[in-house]
């Protein structure tokens, strides 16, 4: 059995198949009790983004259509928002029922609580 110790990027296939042209950046932080995923989404509304969990895989996606009517007005572009889908395989110690998400100033933060480590001391009689 492979033990994974942090959320693992699982979205390679989506991007290899060229289904999505935009891939938001993600930071993963770990503390003793939690993992925190910070997803870089400037310009998105929280209603445009879906976070789902299925069979231990967390998926963050948006199918928002970005209009390109004012294409002729752009003089310079480094950042082009598009529909995306990123998935993460979660470690076994994440409590799936306790996953929460919040959006603030263009960053979507997903908090994953870890199951406390089982400890028991056996006293020698």
């Amino acid at each position: 059995m492979i033990m994974i110790s942090k959320p693992v990027d699982y979205s390679t296939r989506n991007y290899r198949e060229n289904k999505y042209q935009f891939r938001p950046n993600v930071n993963v932080l770990e503390s003793d009790t939690t993992f925190e995923l910070q997803v870089f989404l400037p310009g998105w509304d929280k209603s445009d983004v879906n976070v789902t969990i299925e069979k231990g895989v967390l998926t963050i996606e948006s199918n928002k259509e970005w209009t390109n009517e004012d294409k002729h007005l752009w003089k310079h572009r480094e950042f082009i928002p598009k529909a995306f889908k990123r998935s993460f395989l979660l470690p076994d110690n994440v409590i799936e029922e306790q996953i929460t998400a919040s959006a603030n100033n263009g960053i979507l933060t997903i908090t994953l609580n870890k199951r406390p480590v089982f400890r028991k001391e056996v006293v020698v009689q």
Binding site: K6, V28, E30, P42, K75, E78, F79, G106
Partner: protein, 147 residues
């Protein structure tokens, strides 16, 4: 957010709206040095309409008070240095694909920008600067009589 006119501010690698010399030249020294890294360089989009230029800088996770925007001659500087975020970076990052705790980008403005009318707004992680154009003096067509 105030627009401050800086007296002397070192500008390294200025990019011009018209020439768009970018990326490598546009990075400030701190991006390469010890304090920054290549992630700490927010993306910029520039749009031009008949009456204005609009500059969008994608820098999520900040507060509007964090931005310093100043103008020196015709060079517009946008910078952020956030100590608190820097300390946060000492936290246990397992994967890190972005960080905007400190950066600086500079732009050379075209001559037709009305610098007094520049304004800035921060929403959903995007800093939008509106740079109105000076009203062009439209020269009336003058008919020249042929004698």
């Amino acid at each position: 957010m105030n627009l401050i006119k800086a007296s002397s501010f070192p500008t390294i690698g200025v990019s011009s709206f018209s020439s768009m010399i970018d990326e490598l030249f546009n990075r400030s020294l701190s991006d390469f040095g010890a304090t920054g890294n290549l992630f700490s360089h927010p993306s910029v989009n520039i749009k031009e309409t008949d009456n204005s230029f609009e500059l969008e800088l994608a820098a999520p996770g900040l507060d509007k008070e964090d931005f310093k925007i100043n103008l020196e001659q015709d060079v517009l500087n946008i910078s952020v240095e956030k100590q608190q975020l820097k300390e946060e970076e000492d936290k246990n990052y397992r994967t890190k694909e972005f960080s905007y705790a400190a950066f600086k980008r500079s732009f050379q403005l075209p001559q037709n920008v009305n610098v007094e009318g520049i304004n800035a707004n921060y929403d959903k992680g995007i800093l939008t600067l509106t740079l109105p154009k000076k009203e062009q003096v439209v020269k009336a067509v003058r008919q020249i009589e042929i004698n």
